[in-house]
Symmetry: C2
Subunit: 713 residues, 2 copies
């Protein structure tokens, strides 16, 4: 292949528009891009390596990540050259092999490294990481979170810690119930005679559904079922229910399992459905850290039921981190392609213009590149908030009500913030993948660009572990509750502190101040968030008056307002996090502060432009100001564009992790793309496999004989 | 399967939240939905059949469509039960077989019926219709549009009309050039000695790319190449170039063809790449209706070059129609699912609430349902505009300059309007598919819901036949040109007539008038469009002054403004078209006028809410008015929701065309979904095919022996 490309590359077209002369040498579409990339990199205004350290959380973190990335990339089982050509069956098999390979690292690495390894493996292959995740992230975490120490030890002794004759799955969701866990219908009825639970699927809607690992792999399930003791329903608890016989992997009696089959993406995961038909398990298989049933059928309920769901927050935080990782990959592809691709003349008599030099193309990509940096900052702040809050709770003296209450308040704040950040970063990532694909024009539709598969694999993040709409509405509800608390003079969390300054913020206007001053920007967004939240809270109080203090109905009626206030609150959280980190000299060395500030300003002003109605409505901006915002967005797009290639380089993804024919580091896009397509689709005879059976019988057909009616008369 | 479902269905859960008592009978998740659907249908406030006639363009049209739909649905080759499980290779084969079956209808049906058959076949299978379309819609249309009558007759005599030993492809796009057709690099050099053209691919970037039909099927190509005669480049013209030997389907000398391979969607189409290496064709294979080369190498250029591209407009119009067809399918699925699905309690002590009864869920679906109706109206108006303009041009007396100019003005108007409508209806359809999927929660991610494949198959519509961004910017350019013409007192097209009233519209405010009055709504949108266009035009004139009258640079600088003005203009076009048709009693009988008016008001006010910044900026709405808009949107959502099932029924799609486990007519969603998943994924042994080779060696492994260092000492 290589020689053919070179031969073609050296032949120039009789078409001046497509040829470019640089330093007296003539180049064409195929030969030029590499040179352009060198030029782009030579113009970097900052040290790229320093920016990588900033993004990863320091030099040491970067070096650790690079070691892990290298070990993944070198592993032949993780070769991804054919990733986009695998069908469901092939993906399933490859994924299981990779799960095994990944787990071989488990004993040898400490927890921090493992977290990085899981995140980075997920970037290379979302199937593998999810299929591992259902065991470690869901099954084992459930045992750890909801089981007693003895139960944990027991299941580890059976192999749960090392996937030896053991693979767990997480049987929560049912066909009829997803978001509303409390409404699950599977039952776990205590049988006094045998001191066992009888696990049963009472109707079709109660079939466990979407259960990752169930179809092909799991030996055990954590089953969420309604605890029924002596006819009383104690609500949903969790139970370990064995699924398969370990001797021959056959299904245990009473267990019915099927394959969920084709999905939009992540076909490497063997999602299944499970029906339990009066399956008996020892009473001790119920996870009893919180709720307990003793041998006499006495049920003890936990004092703090909500703590049982605490494990879910960790998932949300890691999804915000994943949003950063995934979106950086796709924005890099689109930015590199735009730097290489020329189309149409911008100025007459000159070579065609590179996409990245069109003001409109800059608008499509640069604000989204800035968004990726904002997600990096927000997910880092959220991670810190998460570890602070969880260790505070873990070390809280439970005999000290004030201390416990303070710890719980922090967890509640974390719950609200993480819900909004999870929702809006996963949505933003979907949008960035899709816009990046469209920015690559027709070539974005090629399977080898990575966008199609990337979008399909990503999309589920907006739905699982809390549907984004449900999460956003719950954040909106917490915000209104915080605002009501603030009115009564109670303390509110740091993320929503602006509400205590709502009155003052209400009267603030831009008044000719500099919109590129971070303080002005943050204030503007605080004013917008305060205005939205105050308005929603006022309407909530009105609704309460109208319907006789039924808060549920008031919240439902104001769902649009809840959504909007959560949306704006979360945007503010991203903007504040970004500037916080820039202003922290421990995190941001002086050398990269100017470029990061430009990126943060672009993100904030572009967000402001999108939401201009909000700022006009509150009177913060005048109609003239909004025109100025648009001009500034153009200006900062152009600034960020000049550093676009170095900025994406700082993400530090090798060509293996980029895995796109359009996004290689060297910019030699046409060569890589052509090579990929030809190497993956060799067909020397240029005839389809169905030529003899389908094509030829049709194209080379004889005409059907016409009916000659006269012969019939 | 059926008996199992029935047995399960009759067992009720010990879980009151999930059971519902209707007329004294108890139902659960699995048994209830069918009953709910009957109730929904009994509440229809209008005659569904009349609405179907309205949507299809009359009773006769509906009946024709039903006949065609029935014939597709009954054809065993078009059985789509396994559609979502087919891999690329299987899809390719099936698609070719269907192309043959579809073409067997060609002789027997008249052109109107054929257009319907193609559109409806495309709804059932986008692969087949595109693979047919490259021959009939692109190859044959090129011969017809750019060839002489003799050339048309010649190629038809070779089989082009009936796909006998003939299959054409359309070799326009190159690896390095897509949107900018004028920059294509393939050359067609006239050889005086032999009176032939030499077709050549000069470099890698000039490789023909994405060519549908090239990889597996095409015998001939229409190749777009630069005409070079005696060293002079006359720009891009089209040439018929044979690709394969008819005797054995091998490639002709000098032809290199490869498979483009995996795509985001439409894998049934055999897109390929083509390189021509000095391929010789007779001079007469150049299509010479417009540009001509005679035997002496004398080149004649056409008087009206733009007419050669006129065929592209037809494609745009049909993509607006397709947008309606595709989006109606997906909004129906999501609406039906929302009517069946319960989740969470809205009111305490009552059954869980149906998704469609949540105000927020109504906001997610009802405005998009209204959008689908707006697309129906706009695509119908555009179709009429298209036939009027093309027949006016065809019948224009070319010796009468005024008549010709008037006809060309209409075509230009059509060009501008169709570009915007194509862009914003195809984008809206993508968005509607995606939002509809998310509205089905986790189940939307199932392959059998149809959303994933639907999105992937659809997405290319936003890119091909004119990238949506490029098209929108070109509409923006035409609008500014129209505004400048209007300033000089010249006549402008009907779609942009509001610009002539810009001064008057500028001072109009809502001023307490009724926002549900269609006249007020249309005026509001005209004011918004006029304001955006006036502002863009003023900025354009300023830019001209700054940069010395370089219109190209001025247009580039104002690309954001061009985009915005085209976006608002197109939204106005949709709104005006919708009300136009409602007010035309020939089209809209009195019985369905009230419901259509409600739908149109919802669409218009929801659009206004989304663009509140625009209306605040112009002063048309006050901040208080925008709150009123939100309240009205809620109100109209609730009105439209009450008719949601009958409204989607009016789209008249059978379960075959819906092809989603979540969207069947009877509403029995859990039963259909479970049946589909189980029937498509039978695995009695519940072990994966790779159990012995991958799963068992890992899960049942022996531990690796630890190194005992002492043995080495």
């Amino acid at each position: 292949m290589a020689s053919r490309i070179n031969h073609l590359a050296n032949t120039l077209a009789n078409n001046n528009a497509s040829n470019v002369i640089i330093d007296g040498k003539e180049y064409n579409t195929a030969t030029e891009p590499k040179l352009l990339f060198q030029q782009e990199r030579s113009k970097a205004s900052f040290n790229v390596r320093d920016l990588t350290y900033y993004l990863d959380g320091g030099k040491e973190a970067t070096e650790k990540m690079e070691k892990i990335m290298e070990s993944i990339e070198r592993d032949p089982l993780f070769n991804n050259d054919n990733f986009y050509d695998l069908n469901k069956e092939q993906l399933r098999e490859q994924t299981m092999a990779r799960v095994a390979a990944l787990n071989n690292h488990i004993d040898g690495e400490n927890e921090t490294i493992l977290t990085s390894r899981f995140a980075l493996t997920g970037l290379a292959d979302p199937n593998t990481i999810t299929r591992c995740g259902v065991h470690f992230g869901l099954f084992v975490s459930s045992i750890r979170g909801s089981g007693t120490p003895e139960q944990l030890q027991y299941w580890f002794s059976k192999g749960a810690g090392r996937l030896k004759k053991f693979f767990g799955c997480f049987a929560m969701t049912e066909l009829g119930h997803g978001s509303n866990v409390a409404g699950l219908e599977t039952t776990a009825t205590w049988d006094e005679a045998t001191d066992e639970f009888i696990i049963n699927t009472p109707n079709l809607g109660a079939t466990k559904w979407w259960i990752g690992g169930a179809a092909h792999t799991a030996t055990h399930s954590v089953c969420f079922a309604r605890l029924i003791v002596r006819g009383k329903d104690y609500g949903v608890k969790s139970f370990v229910v064995p699924l398969r016989n370990l001797s021959d992997f056959t299904l245990k009696p009473g267990i019915a399992i099927g394959d969920i089959g084709k999905k939009m993406g992540r076909d490497g995961i063997d999602n299944g459905w499970i029906q339990y038909t009066n399956v008996r398990i020892p009473r001790q298989f119920m996870l009893m850290k919180y709720a307990k049933v003793d041998a006499n059928g006495v049920v003890t309920e936990p004092p703090l039921a909500q703590l049982a769901y605490g494990a879910l927050i960790g998932g949300r935080v890691s999804m915000a981190v994943d949003s950063y990782h995934f979106s950086k990959r796709f924005i890099t592809i689109a930015t590199r392609y735009a730097a290489a691709r020329r189309q149409f003349g911008f100025k007459k008599g000159e070579p065609e213009t590179r996409l990245l030099d069109y003001p409109y193309h800059q608008r499509r990509l640069m604000p989204r590149l800035a968004f990726v940096f904002a997600m990096n900052a927000a997910s880092a702040e959220l991670t810190e908030m998460h570890s602070a809050a969880t260790s505070k709770l873990a070390s809280a003296d439970t005999s000290n009500p004030a201390e416990l209450q303070s710890a719980i308040a922090d967890i509640k704040e974390l719950f609200s913030v993480s819900a909004g950040v999870k929702a809006f970063t996963t949505w933003a990532t979907s949008e960035i993948i899709d816009q990046s694909r469209q920015a690559c024009g027709g070539h974005g539709y090629s399977g080898y660009s990575g966008f199609g598969q990337g979008y399909n694999d990503w999309a589920v993040q907006c739905t699982w572990e809390g549907d984004n709409n449900v999460l956003t509405l719950s954040t909106g509800r917490s915000l209104i509750q915080s605002a009501l608390a603030a009115k009564k003079g109670k303390k509110v969390g740091a993320a929503v502190d602006y509400i205590t300054r709502a009155e003052q913020l209400k009267s603030v206007k831009l008044n000719g101040r500099d919109l590129t001053n971070p303080k002005v920007i943050v204030e503007a967004w605080e004013a917008a968030a305060a205005s939205a939240l105050s308005s929603a809270t006022e309407q909530f109080e009105e609704q309460l008056k109208i319907n006789g203090n039924n808060a549920e109905i008031a919240f439902e009626t104001l769902s649009q307002q809840r959504f909007e206030t959560a949306r704006i609150h979360t945007r503010l959280y991203l903007i504040r996090s970004f500037f916080n980190r820039i202003n922290n000299s421990q995190i941001t060395p002086a050398g990269i502060k100017p470029i990061l500030t430009e990126v943060a300003i672009l993100f904030s002003l572009w967000s402001m432009e999108l939401d201009s109605g909000l700022f006009l409505q509150s009177g913060y901006l005048s109609p003239e100001d909004t025109k100025r915002v648009t001009k500034l967005v153009d200006e900062y797009n152009s600034k960020v564009r000049s550093q676009a290639i170095p900025l994406t380089d700082a993400f530090n993804l090798s060509d293996y992790f980029i895995n796109s024919a359009l996004g290689n580091y060297d910019g030699d896009v046409y060569k890589h793309y052509f090579e990929k397509v030809t190497l993956r689709n060799i067909n020397k005879f240029s005839k389809p496999p169905y030529f003899e059976t389908v094509t030829k019988p049709y194209l080379y057909r004889e005409d059907e004989e016409e009916v000659d009616r006269t012969q019939l008369e």
